[in-house]
Amino acid sequence: MKKFTFVIAILLLLPLCPRAQAMEFSAPTVPESGAEAMPEAWDSLGQALGELGQKALALAGPDLREAAKAGAAVLAAVLAVSLLNAFQGMRKGAAALVLTLAVSGTLLGTANTMVRLGASTVEELADYGKLLFPVLTGALAAQGGGTASAALYTGTIAVDLFLGELLAAVLAPMVYLFLALAVANSAVGGEPLKKLRDLVKGFLTWALKTALAAFTTYMSITGVVSGATDAAALKATKVSISAAVPVVGGVLSDASEAVLVSAGVLKNAAGVYGIVATLAILLAPFLRIAANYLVLKLTAAVCGVFAPGSSTELIADFSAAMGLLLAMTAAAALLLLISVVCFLREVG
């Protein structure tokens, strides 16, 4: 508490210091994981985003190839065992169990890697936020907004920390629970397991949507994010975010308005660098999880043609888990972006 009071006091006194007003505030360097995707030379936010897009295209190829390998393995397993689907009785149950084991053995490893990747990305974004916010707070305080910066810093860091912890420590491990129930449901079957699986998925979706809604409501109440932007650009952004991110795409697209509204007034170099760095941290993991999500969706659709039943449902569940991970990483990044934008509205 003493440390916190000390930081607040320093922030309030900062504008009084003449050297602080002339001080250059530079954003923390992008962490190693985002360094590859970080644009090398850029003058404006638009240019940086363009280069990020180009890097995304280059990164998507290998990710899709890796995901396609897992899809091919699952397809081969389902195709091989689908012959036994014609039989009734014990053998069909045994075949379903073998198929569940084969699909789980192929996809659990990938899912484990993706959950860890998602959780570490959320943690990295939160850690980067912890380094970036003090810089932005300092910049805001140096421009004479000591009280505003302290209030903004306190509120944003508290909400960001809480949501970051919620995503990485609670929701990401719950994806494992969802997958465990999905595998058990596919192997054993039965209504109770199915209901439990749906309950966990429902809870995850609800928690993600509520966390995002709470954050955007908090930001709206503070009134930091306001203004008007080009209606066509806003609509295009909303539609693309809504389509690209499963589960929370709708909520994220609403929240994207806040980012877009403020994007036009961004001049602070540290803030713009922070935004580009956030996107660079997100880019590679998001594309990797998205590639698995898309390939598993396609595999589930193809398997559904010749082997409808528990195996196809299991593949669809793995795809849903990837969707939840996509939603988590995208939500964490957007929370950070909105927070940065809130500071930049004040800093200019």
Partner: protein
Amino acid sequence: MDTYWKAIGAALVCAVVGLAVGKREKDLALVLSMAGICAVAAGGAVYLRPVIALVQELEAAAALEGGSLGVLLKTVGIGLVSQLAAGICADAGSGGLAKALQMLGSAAILCLSAPLAEEVLVLIREILGML
């Protein structure tokens, strides 16, 4: 599609002839039934060849290691053979034997899947260890 029509023809002939001689020579009818089943199964095997080739192609594309697809194909083979044998036993009036064969098939399938279950168990332990 020649094989398909030939297999259907052989099955129908076996069924009709078996019906005709079955009243006097039950043993002969059973042999005819077995011959029909073998002919149809052989026809089915012809059609399964491209499917198995496709599965192997997918296995190569996925760069799978550990031979889990081999286990699955063995499972399919055991399932099909035990089902056909159980059908013949049922035709011969040995319902109990048919059930026993079905059980044997299921047991063999479960036994074959043990290495797969072990692989999944290792993955689950790995995940639990990280939580």
